[in-house]
Symmetry: D2
Subunit: 348 residues, 4 copies
């Protein structure tokens, strides 16, 4: 009953097999391995983007920060929500990588920025000539950190605002596949066709050991990105082990299969939670993150029985009937029995 | 016959097995996995340093740059040789991570700085008050990029100079185990007992997929390092896969075993080269890197037969008898048959 | 009738005379001039701080950013209001100088942070271990950018919060003397006795050509600050011309005299505005910045007659009776006749 | 007898008068003052460059670093001599401003790089793909820090190398006017006609209080430079006081007049030194910096009599007849009587 995060689960057996196969013989280092050629083809096909520049790094923070540093100037503002991972959970990595750009906060619902509020935020910046921060890219997290899945219309509304101000769009896709499955659309529809310029395509939270793809739909950024990756220490010498993971991920739609399993587990959980009168869902989750409130007594019971998850607003000490907010995250490997047992335990 | 680098070979089977075992069940993320506890203990035991702060990152550039950023201030000079990896091969990563420290070049032989020259370089910096760069750490590469292995006396002479100027010492140990085997000393003797404050303990070039340990003998640096690692995107969420590699590396002296194999392969190569009148060794190699000159005709013959290695000073076009310098690197997996075939091919 | 800013007026004749006197003969460069010795003494006496480290730079942005870089780590958050000059009007200079610290916005009234809100902001940061930004200094602007003058109680409440979280306090004192005059307190009472660690002591907006003093009450920061100033290009070779200005400023209380004149001019303006039924003052101004609303028709009349000032929320085109917000700033040199003419013109 | 530096002397009376005149009434701030319009015209006329972007800052380090940050990428090498001010005397300011570019040292004579050595240095960088620093701009100091004046041919040879590698050229012209006078050429001939892209046009060392002009011959860099200047705190609010200095400098060729006086003083000194058998000149000085060796006994006599200058390689303690190297710098205000007295004192 570990719902702490989608980064606590194991990698998929097919990924491990791919890693084993990749370990045979010698391979050219630093991204010139044959498997990377395959990855490039697979990503370009998946995104219907034959010109896209494709790179691999090992962490989401690296993917996000290196993309933002490529798209933003140090004197610019990057627009994002207050709960954006880049704002809250990367210890100022975007500021470090961009050389001091500012993250400007835009009002949001369930981690999804309001397009009108984004437009107002853009209007407000760059109204003081050389004195204020200049307008820069917008960063959208899909699935949002609060479990929200932007519709294609929502995405287009946000990217339209950025476009209106001549600014590029980054998508933090740490849970890209989960959103894809939730929307039932294509990777192209959720990215460049909706106005996204570059995406951090997550693999780590969805069944890999630790690989994220960086995709620039305009290859003009390629060489600069390669230099930024190298001087950040994010270019791997034995790169084949990254390539092998990402190739296995995209082959035979393993990534979709795993995201479906994760979303299905969350849906099962949500169905159970909805049947309980003392549970309030923050919003109707469509992907693999669930935020819900229920009384402390039930939290205590669950955690004492070994359930693991984050409580957002308080500890186990306190009145029994006070509502506490839980964040529950599922991944491809989540046993349905765990979910059922969790729901049983809530009933006490 | 691939002598291009020790980063083109496979990981050791025991490492792959450890990775497989680590993939079972769920594990706490971001370095709080149980395996990391084991790694910490193994490193501390290996270095006889029960207080040492121990961290894992995935690349040597990350290890070096993060250590240097922790030890150096942005207004300081870091002393190193002209052929230091941090100077030549990290695309200004140390400058990026330190926020603009300067790398001050010290004369060297076979990549090993001359202690007197180091002292003179220290004297020269900080002689202009606030105007010039201030004195900072020295960075020693052991095994050097030219294949040189510093004796313990040499190390002590260099660290003694740094100490005299109140400055700390970093060791780039990308090939630490190869040096250890060459010197036949203990990890403690080659580091803190010789005056080293922090070491990048390489695993990637010596049979891992991609892990380097960072060891600070004074744990005062620990928290700052953790913050620097996080904001650089070098903290892995599924950290257990790094831990598993490093644990396997240190258990039952696998790291020593692999370094012995690599050094033995180089020694076999050197024995063969020494018997040839047209070959000149740059110096007598004690670890797993060999620099040697021989005529272009033999280079052409070797490369046409499929041998892979770097030629330092010229191409295959040109006079047959002109001497070109080869860099040959061996690793744990190098078949002796390849070496023998290589030597046969040289003879024509 | 130029109320655009207190940086559009001339320097005081006594300052110009001091500059002339300073131009005689040769003087040691880079801050070792005899006049700087005098400045140091004058500042220490004015602040009753015999140990304080005192430096001069030429711009407020330099003073603020260099202090913040000295007090904050790159992975920290600096707490300030949304209208803080460091946030809105320095084109990301604090982010640049600190190497990527984050400015965390705290709710405010008239540019003065609410101490409870500050406490909540501190609570919220550093609640996610290594992942989020770490807590850092608070930056208070006295006089605030909205013309607010913190009482000593208010200052102590804010610094008390910072202290509670173990963090230092910066005061942006671009209009320090105007606040001093408004409060009728001593420099010591408004700074170190109230818990302030370092202050940017403005001179430029109050009758100098371009000099701000940097004062650290704890001299431990001195050498680091000197290095930061130098590598930022803010150490002047012909430093005597900065020293001369600041010495003249503090001698015979010229700074107080000029701030009194500026505040008196604002008070005269406010008295006139208060008598008009169509004018709404944002708050009761105590220093030299006035924010007030009145109908567009009067704005149009004033600006057509040559009055210069900023309109905050709209242009001269639009309905006559719509209220627009003006920012009016006075300095030591403001002729009272200009104020009276301005008030006359409002009446039409 | 103060030959310590050309930054210890006073500003020219005509500059002080201009400053006084500029202090009348109110002026638009942040570089939009009417005097700056005049400066722009004067600089463009002086350089025959009607399109040039022209800015003012207050220190040479600011001018150099901001230009280099505009011309260089963080992953590049900037080529300069070992004695370049940007390398030796700016406490890593270029590394700070560029976000971590590397200064690559090129062999020089009298501070003037050898064009062939520069070509070899360019060849050597960027030979390792993404791994090494990439090629970036060259920075030439005219007059060099060792007093050398590049001929136009020498300049063209150096800029030709940069051009061959597609890289731009910066000129550190802290003593630009002194070089101009020495060569008897036009500002255009010494800059853009010789292949220079941007120049730090010094005023501070040549009779101003503290102003340097930044000139980009290609105005494409203008807006980026303005943002960089602002976020570095080098944009002055009361900018008119910078404008006034630079306008006075260029009007009626005051800058040339002052440089002629400085060079003439140095020439007088050199004539005297040449007549002494115990003096060896480092090279024949053409501008206002003299390097010469003579025995310690004479140094002792001079310094005890109150002469001020730098001794490069040793102190006053030691054998009487050991040769020590003096650096002597003259400016526009140097009394010839001081020079004559200095020469008399040498004779003992």
């Amino acid at each position: 009953m570990n719902f702490a995060s989608d980064n606590t689960g194991p990698a998929h057996p097919r990924v491990m097999e791919a890693l084993m196969r990749a370990n045979e013989g010698r391979a050219t280092s630093y991204g010139a391995d044959a498997l990377m050629e395959e990855v490039r083809t697979l990503v370009r096909e998946a995104f219907e983007a034959p010109e896209a520049a494709v790179y691999l790094v090992a962490t989401g923070t690296a993917a996000n920060s290196l993309i933002l540093a490529t798209l933003a100037q140090p004197w610019q503002a990057i627009f994002c929500s207050e709960v954006a991972h880049i704002h809250e959970d990367e210890c100022n990595a975007p500021e470090f990588y961009t050389g001091g750009a500012k993250l400007t906060i835009v009002p949001h619902e369930a981690g999804m920025m309001d397009p009108d509020a984004l437009a107002r935020a853009y209007e407000a910046e760059e109204s003081r000539g050389v004195h204020g921060p200049q307008r820069g890219p917008v960063s959208i997290t899909q699935v949002s950190e609060k479990g929200g899945v932007h519709t294609l219309d929502h995405l287009r509304a946000l990217t339209g605002v950025a476009r209106r101000f001549g600014q590029p769009v980054h998508m933090d896709g740490a849970r890209f596949a989960n959103a894809l499955v939730a929307l039932g659309c294509s990777p192209a529809e959720m990215t460049w066709k909706a106005g996204v310029d570059a995406v951090s395509l997550g693999g780590t939270k969805n069944g890999l050991l630790g690989v994220e793809a960086v995709v620039f739909f305009d290859p003009a950024h390629a060489w600069q990105f390669e230099l930024r990756r190298k001087r950040a220490g994010h270019l791997f010498s034995k790169h084949r082990y990254l390539s092998a993971q990402m190739a296995a991920y995209l082959q035979d739609d393993l990534w979709i299969e795993m995201a479906q399993a994760a979303n299905a587990a969350a849906a099962r959980l949500v169905r159970g939670l909805k049947q309980r009168p003392d549970v309030t869902l923050a919003h109707d989750p469509r992907a693999n993150i669930v935020f819900a409130d229920w009384p402390r007594a039930a939290h205590r019971r669950l955690q004492e029985a070994g359930a693991t998850y984050y409580i957002w607003n308080g500890g186990l000490e306190g009145p029994d009937d006070e509502a506490l907010t839980a964040r529950l995250v599922t991944d491809w490997s989540m046993p349905h029995a765990d979910i059922d047992r969790f729901l049983d335990l809530m009933s006490g």
